[in-house]
């Protein structure tokens, strides 16, 4: 066993220790012992000892395997190859122990036994195996009904919140939408043919538990168009202190409905009449604050679907972007044809025009929102912008003049 005096200092403390855990496995897995050794070296030198590999994979796929090699293979032979396998997770990360044990059996046999539950995109991450183990591991996985996920310039494994499986706020079936879109784009998930990554995330409501607005090129966030459902007797119970705000998730004994809910409504669309809560729903911007505060009194409406937002990514390269509204409301019912078609149209336009490593949000910045909207057949709607432009530098196209000559505005033709 390698000596790890620095890492040993991470064994103490109340939060679960990865060092303690890895040390349990090290005696039976030489690769894990070597990983601890190399990590100790990194802690001493304050530098990484990994090299990127770009070629390894399983036959037929260009996704799901990330090549990794130690730059100290003579010292740590167990890390000579230490590739990652991404296993596409089931919607909302629900498991049975039987299914998990099958996965772990495969990984104990063909890999290091180290994993992440889960990676940033959502996949189960198997960390560390040799090139020759990839194909046998893959075949055992598919025999048990599992497949590997996306990586590289491809559709990435879509992910979703727990939705209607365990949440009263979900405005559509995030699990089924995630599953169906994943199935629809299997070819593009495994055979990278896009300019760069394309991530789909499905959140059931504007609380956005999977951070779709920040972490997905295409963000489907649940929304309702009708009235917030109110149980007035429960509102009274909150006023009386019988019910705790946020279901008990805050150290606040009694909710002050006027100060904590009504006064903090960003659109000021609610008020109290005695002990009755009134909402002018037409002016509600569905921020979720009142619903979060009083989960037993308020629920989203029943005329539900999702908003499609597009373009978010981390700061590389033009600076971080959040997704912005492109379709304010889309009905989300099986088989989700409208969303599948929109996704295909967008990825096709982006693949045609995007440069290597250019995310769809950056391409739209480069070519313009009009070019994008026209290409995918979406009309301009005010919900897309926070504010119209402040400059007078706008363009007129031939189509605008033709429409004008025909006595109509261009975009009323759709």
């Amino acid at each position: 066993m390698h000596k790890t005096p620095l890492l040993d200092q991470l064994e103490s403390g109340p939060f679960p220790s990865f060092v303690k855990d890895l040390k349990r496995l090290a005696p039976t897995k030489p690769a894990v012992n070597d990983l601890l050794g190399q990590l100790e070296r990194s802690y001493k030198e304050k530098i990484t000892h990994w090299k990127h590999g770009g070629i390894v994979g399983v036959l037929g796929y260009g996704s799901g395997i990330i090549g990794r090699y130690s730059d100290l293979p003579d010292e740590f032979p167990g890390l000579e190859h230490f590739h990652t396998m991404r296993i596409n997770h089931p919607s909302a990360w629900f498991y049975t122990t039987q299914a998990l044990r099958e996965l772990f059996d495969i990984w104990d046999e063909h890999g290091s036994g180290l994993l992440n539950m889960h990676g940033a995109t959502g996949d189960i991450i198997f960390l560390g195996t040799r090139t020759e183990e990839l194909e046998p591991a893959f075949q055992k996985l598919t025999a048990k009904g599992w497949d590997i996920g996306g990586s590289g310039s491809a559709m990435r494994s879509p992910s979703c919140c727990c939705g209607p499986a365990r949440c009263e706020w979900s405005c559509y079936d995030t699990l089924e939408a995630c599953y169906q879109l994943t199935q629809e784009f299997q070819f593009d998930l495994h055979r990278p043919s896009y300019p760069y990554k394309y991530k789909l995330k499905f959140s059931g409501c504007p609380n956005d538990c999977v951070a779709a607005v920040a972490r997905a090129d295409m963000s489907m966030i649940g929304v309702w168009k009708d009235d917030i459902r109110i149980d007035q007797s429960a509102v009274e119970a909150y006023m009386g202190g019988e019910l705790k705000p946020k279901g008990g998730g805050a150290n606040v004994d009694k909710l002050d409905v006027q100060a904590d809910v009504v006064d903090l409504c960003p659109t000021q669309c609610m008020w109290l009449e005695g002990k009755t809560l009134k909402i002018n729903n037409r002016e509600c911007n569905h921020c979720m604050h009142c619903i979060n505060m009083m989960p037993q009194a308020l629920r989203p409406g029943t005329d539900v679907g999702c908003t499609v937002l597009l373009g978010s990514h981390a700061p590389i390269l033009e600076g971080a972007q959040m997704s912005w509204v492109i379709v304010p409301f889309m009905r989300m019912e099986e088989p989700f044809d409208e969303l599948k078609e929109l996704t295909s149209n967008i990825t096709e336009w982006w693949a045609e025009h995007g440069k290597n490593r250019e995310r769809v949000g950056e391409l739209i910045m480069r070519l313009g929102m009009r070019a994008f909207l026209e290409a995918v057949g979406l009309p301009p709607v005010p919900q897309t912008v926070k504010t119209p432009r402040a400059n007078p530098f706008f363009f007129w196209h031939k189509s605008d003049f033709e429409a004008e000559d025909a006595g109509r505005k261009y975009h009323t033709t759709k």
Binding site: Y43, T48, H52, L100, T142, G249, N285, T384, K386
Partner: protein
Amino acid sequence: MSERITDIGPPHYSKFLPPVIKENYGKWKYHTIPEPGVLIHVSETGDELISVRVASPRLITTLFARDLCDIADKYCDGYLRFTSRHNVEFLVSDKSKLEGLKAELVQRGLPKGGTGHSVTNIVHTQGWVHCHTPAIDASGIVKAVMDDLFEYFGSHELPAQVRISLACCLNMCGAVHCSDIAICGVHRTPPTIRHEVLRHLCEIPTTIASCPTGAIRPHPDKTLKSVIVNEERCMYCGNCYTMCPALPCFDSEKGGVALLVGGKVSNAKSPPMFSRLAVPYIPNDPPRWPDTVVTIRRILIKYAENALKWERVGEWVERIGWERFFEVCEIPFTFQHIDDYKFQAYDTYRTSMHFKF
């Protein structure tokens, strides 16, 4: 190829849902959080599901994961799930098993929490454990920070929920740019060029194309078959090193931690917000990064003391103003805080759910 199975995608989630979820799918009425780490969802049918949320270090072994399975078999009929922040959730259908589960978690040293107004698990990347471009480790810093903030994981003491995330370099695999507190690894050294190796290992055009800021050019001396780097344009992302191993750009001394604060993704009250630079650089100090830990604690405590009820970190900072934030948190303001990187008309696009039908 005929015997190979491909493109089957993930298994359908319905295979993994406990019966109480199958029966109440889409029928949930409300939830309560009777104590930190315990959620009770109540259905229109009157059925209840108890979820017990537990911390996980994200980087785990199959031994640890099998332990989780043993617990789920004993108390949850074999059903469990993971959250988007790497917590484990034990799904208890039989109320009578809750106390036993809680006792066993204590005995195994598995902390429950991460609900409501807590600091929940830190979303993070691989760091020195498995990444080729990190400026910092991930798991070690996360462990050190969570040990220090442990009291806030298992309580609801804070004015609102606090989401901390870590990315080990500015490529931000973890997309941490909308977190209440973001820990981001930063390099500060342009690549050194190993000309004698580069000509054998790397394709010149693809190496040049790898640079996002166009800082790499062919070497004027064509016989060298190498490149030059305009160091002023380099922002140390390491992409060239990904393409070409002859361009190492990391050193032991200059890498470290940057802290960004005030981001959120939820639409509650205020729109989603980006995290903004608070501390541009804290030197690497393994194994426990004490400066980083102390600075994060100071920001969190100042927030907890000064924010109004329900206010997220970013909402608090916006209310008091950034100049006050730097003053209160005793953080010096530097040239690095002033943005001089390109950005576009993008800020006119709506990034929120705040609109009307």
